[in-house]
Amino acid sequence: MTTDLHQSTEEMLAESLWKVRLKLAWRSFRKGWASFVENRIGLLGLGIIALYGLMALAHPILLDTVWDPRVYDPIIGYDAPATIKTIVPDGQVTDPETQVSLLEARLINPILKVGETLEIREQPASPSRKHLLGTDPLGRDVLSQLMFSTRAAFLLGVVASLVTVFIATTVGSVSAFFGGLIDTFFMRLADLILLVPFLPLLIVLSALFQFGLLHLALMIGILGGFGGTAIILKSQALSISVKPFIDAARIAGGGKMHLIFRHIIPNVLPLSFLYMMFSVTDAISIEATLSFLGLLNIDMSWGIMIYQASVQGYLLSGTKYWWLLMPAGLSVTLLAGSFFLVGRAMDEIINPRLRKR
């Protein structure tokens, strides 16, 4: 395939040691990438992630250039197309674009009579050229909200998963290596966290404290890191800590920290990375759930978009107001799903038993 994938080691040795290491890392990255590309679902996931990444990046630029902030701001923007309609007697509406029945008009202003005109502001407005995904019940642009929320979703997912994996890898490796009391403590703690229902706990916590996005991310990260992920990574660390190369390192004179950080953690890390992908998925869906329940102190997110549609009574109106529900709901599903797909594809690289060849 590529020739310098098998670049001779003599050439490499002429260079300094860190350069050699960099090249080795690059070589193994490219090998991993080659098998990742072969797996279509991973590429699909990566494509979706890249798409949302672009959306998140494009939003502030669009607001700075072509979008008027007074109209397109995701939180305080307002735009409702107004139409002037003539009031006609009930049951005689022939052109709904220009006419409105007396009954509907009197719902807005009870002293109106047949023959008078009425200015009707349409909100939520259906998709138009100006608002590609329409506006929400408060007259705000849905596309702008969607793109703005993407950034929050990424931030949340990345912070939560990094915290999860950092804690879980350390806790898992340490308790596998030391065993005994430390192990018992962390594993029972993990059981406890698994035992407590996640969502009700977060509901109680967000009622007690004002939960922002970063708080939520840390919360999910800590609960996940001390919870189930720690158990999985511990089992991996345990299977490594009984390998003879750990004994060999001990005989070489390596201390506890050397054994944990140079031998156990590097061998757990691929699995940690995999679980990082899965915990992004978790974090995004948890955020959507909590903000749908109106429990998060944040301005805008996909969950809040659905929450808005729900509290204004549009949730059960079927497909008539689809633009209020579909974009946000689909985004949650797609982004969470795409991280899961990437995780699955990485699983096949990391776990040789799943490989086809």
């Binding site: 001779s8 060999a248 005989i251 070489a252 004179g253 201390g255 050397h258 140079r262 590097p266």
Partner: protein, 341 residues
């Protein structure tokens, strides 16, 4: 008791083991105290003079690997003393402080049985071999590189630069065992515990690995404790052989003396089981009966008594026989072997 009778002719042995004991508790439950113990190593004493290699032979589960792990301090002895010569001093490695441990780690290394599992798959060959130098802070990076290259050449992995930055999975079993030998020798140890280093290798490359170990032992002045179940391997590698049975040494002598003139019934049985390259050879019926048992709280009589073809009432009713020098340099632990003066 027994140690005083051993090796009075050797003034300063490299390694001296006295009454070594290792009991493993048999766990019956989380909060219950263990009341039964497996006597994995029970009152073992021997010594190894500098430059000499001792073979530790026995069937699986007889405690030979545990002995090796204790000598490298991967495991702690329950009781007993181990002395290692460091310069003019004798370090007691059974209870050793942090400073002593550092010195000890420079003196003793180990070669493992499984070449596939004894190397971290995520570290390069250079990292693996240089690890003792690195963790003990010996030399600067260029010096370490030079030293590793030198050792790779010595163990026959040439040209060294092509092997330095490979990963273990890119090498064959024999090549990996050569790397393991290089790692063991990189800090100039005086004593190496080799735990069946050739048993997982192809028969065709065993001899070359054994030759390599012998040559390097001469070159570096290293003594081996060579743990094996294969008498032929022990004969090839070792100056003296100790035969272990259920945690006790039953016979210890110079290699040729032990193989040519075995005294203990267990050693005789072992020797009769060695394959003979003659298709018309008719094997005499095996003298011993039964199989190896676990040494869980064994009675204080001779461990071999249940399987011994010679066992008498005296053996069944008296304390286990001590390891005694029955003839010059030939130690046997049996009531029935007569002392030759």
């Amino acid at each position: 008791m027994t140690d005083r009778t051993i090796d009075t002719k050797v003034e300063q042995p490299l390694v001296k083991v006295e009454n070594l004991k290792r009991l493993f508790p048999v766990q019956r439950g989380l909060f219950r105290k263990a009341t039964n113990f497996i006597h994995a190593v029970d009152d073992v004493s021997f010594s190894i003079p500098a430059g000499e290699s001792l073979g530790l032979v026995g069937e699986s589960g007889c405690g030979k690997t545990t002995t090796g792990r204790i000598l490298t301090r991967l495991d702690q002895p329950t009781d007993g003393a181990i002395y290692l010569r460091d310069g003019q001093e004798m370090l007691n490695i059974a209870d050793i402080d942090k400073d002593g441990m550092k010195r000890f780690r420079r003196r003793v290394q180990m070669i493992f049985q499984d070449p596939y599992e004894s190397m971290n798959p995520r570290r390069t060959i250079f990292d693996t071999i240089a690890e003792p130098l690195q963790v003990q802070g010996i030399g600067r990076l260029p010096e370490r590189e030079e030293r590793v290259a030198e050792l790779l050449e010595l163990v026959g992995l040439t040209p060294a630069p092509t092997f330095m930055f490979r990963y273990p999975h890119e090498l064959s079993g024999g090549q990996r065992q050569r790397v393991a030998i290089a790692r063991a020798l990189v800090i100039d140890p005086t004593f190496v515990v080799a735990d069946e280093p050739t048993s997982m290798l192809d028969v065709s490359i065993r001899i070359s690995i054994m030759d390599l170990m012998l040559n390097l032992a001469n070159e570096f002045g290293v003594s081996y404790l060579y743990i094996t179940h294969d008498l032929a391997v022990a004969r090839y590698m070792c100056d003296r052989i100790a035969v272990m049975y259920l945690g006790k040494i039953v016979e210890l002598a110079e290699t040729e003396e032990l193989l040519g003139n075995p005294q203990h019934p267990y050693t005789r049985a072992l020797l009769s089981a060695v394959p003979v390259p003659d298709p018309s050879y008719v094997r005499p019926p095996v003298e011993i009966k039964g199989g190896i048992t676990k040494a869980i709280d064994p009675p204080p009589v001779c461990r071999f008594v249940d399987r011994c073809p010679w066992a008498t009432d005296y053996c069944r009713n008296n304390e286990a026989p001590p390891l005694e020098e029955k003839s010059s340099g030939h130690f046997v632990a049996c009531h029935l072997v007569e002392k030759v003066s």
